[in-house]
């Protein structure tokens, strides 16, 4: 079976639910591309994710509802133990699967294995969470620059991105 066309399916679904203004998905004709210029074994790698990854019992995050629509870029220290991580994401296919295995959407253990085997040079000290904003402008003008600045501060050469 071919892959799911979410743009078409969600448009129809929300129309039937009574929302007549379809979501305008971002679209660009041009796509920026930066080639990898050194071996991965010399690269410092980070992860950025919209999986709503969070640290258990961490009271530092703000109003979650507000973050969800305003948008927000935040950090997860890369030495956080796996068992302290979880996702608060509600927008996934909970009928078909679950988010109990953090590595199935935030591959921190795979990243650690890649570092241990020398496949990558090192792991950046901070990994990144981004709350998807209703405002694409917010993502491009505030969250994107924040993630970039933190990547540069940490000397991250490469980012692996995992949306939910």
């Amino acid at each position: 079976m071919s892959y799911v066309r979410y743009i078409d399916k969600t448009r129809d679904y929300y129309l039937k639910e009574g929302y007549d203004k379809p979501y305008a998905w971002a679209h660009f004709d041009d796509v920026p591309f930066t080639p990898l210029t050194k071996p991965l074994s010399e690269c410092r790698v980070t992860i950025a994710s919209t999986s709503d990854i969070a640290i258990r019992g961490d009271g530092s995050t703000g109003d979650h509802t507000e973050e969800m629509f305003v948008g927000n870029a935040y950090v997860i220290p890369s030495d956080t133990p796996l068992e302290k991580l979880h996702s608060r994401q509600e927008h996934f296919d909970k009928h078909a699967t679950h988010l109990d295995d953090v590595d199935s959407f935030f591959p921190i253990s795979r990243l650690r294995e890649a570092e241990a085997s020398g496949r990558i040079g090192s792991i950046a000290k901070r990994l990144h969470g981004v709350h998807t904003s209703y405002s694409q402008r917010h993502t491009l003008e505030i969250d994107g620059p924040l993630v970039l600045e933190r990547c540069r501060e940490d000397g991250a050469d490469v980012a692996v991105l995992t949306p939910i």
């Binding site: 796509v31 679950h98 109990d100 591959p107 795979r110 991105l161």
Partner: protein, 122 residues
């Protein structure tokens, strides 16, 4: 997430995305995508399937090394173990995407976003 990918790429950081929603990512356009044809929630492989997760992660690392142009998509060679029903059911009339609680959170977020927008704060 695709917008962040584009922003990092435009500013000199190579990225690779691992995602379940192929059409959404390709509509926006990113440099490199590993598409995993699984339900929304597990882009990096089946929960608990370490061997598969390792293969998917290695595909992503490999794509960083081999891609020579943007919009390069690789499809992971795996099928969801419980069949294809989820593809028919997701966002369908017979199966609501969000349960009551999540719907409430979503509507609350939407309403508050509208308020903030009217106030000129977002």
């Amino acid at each position: 997430m695709s917008l962040i990918a584009r922003y990092l790429e435009a500013n000199g950081i190579p990225t690779v995305m691992i995602a379940n929603g192929r059409d959404i990512v390709e509509q926006c356009g990113v440099a490199r995508l590993v598409f995993v044809d699984f339900p929304l929630g597990n882009p990096c492989g089946e929960p608990g399937n370490l061997d598969q997760q390792r293969q998917i992660f290695e595909m992503a690392l490999g794509l960083l090394e081999t891609a020579t142009e943007p919009r390069t998509t690789l499809e992971a060679p795996f099928v969801w173990p419980k069949g294809d029903d989820w593809k028919r059911l997701i966002f369908s009339e017979e199966q609501r995407f969000l349960d009551e609680e999540a719907t409430e959170h979503w509507l609350d977020a939407k309403a508050r976003y509208k308020e903030r927008k009217a106030e000129g704060k977002v």
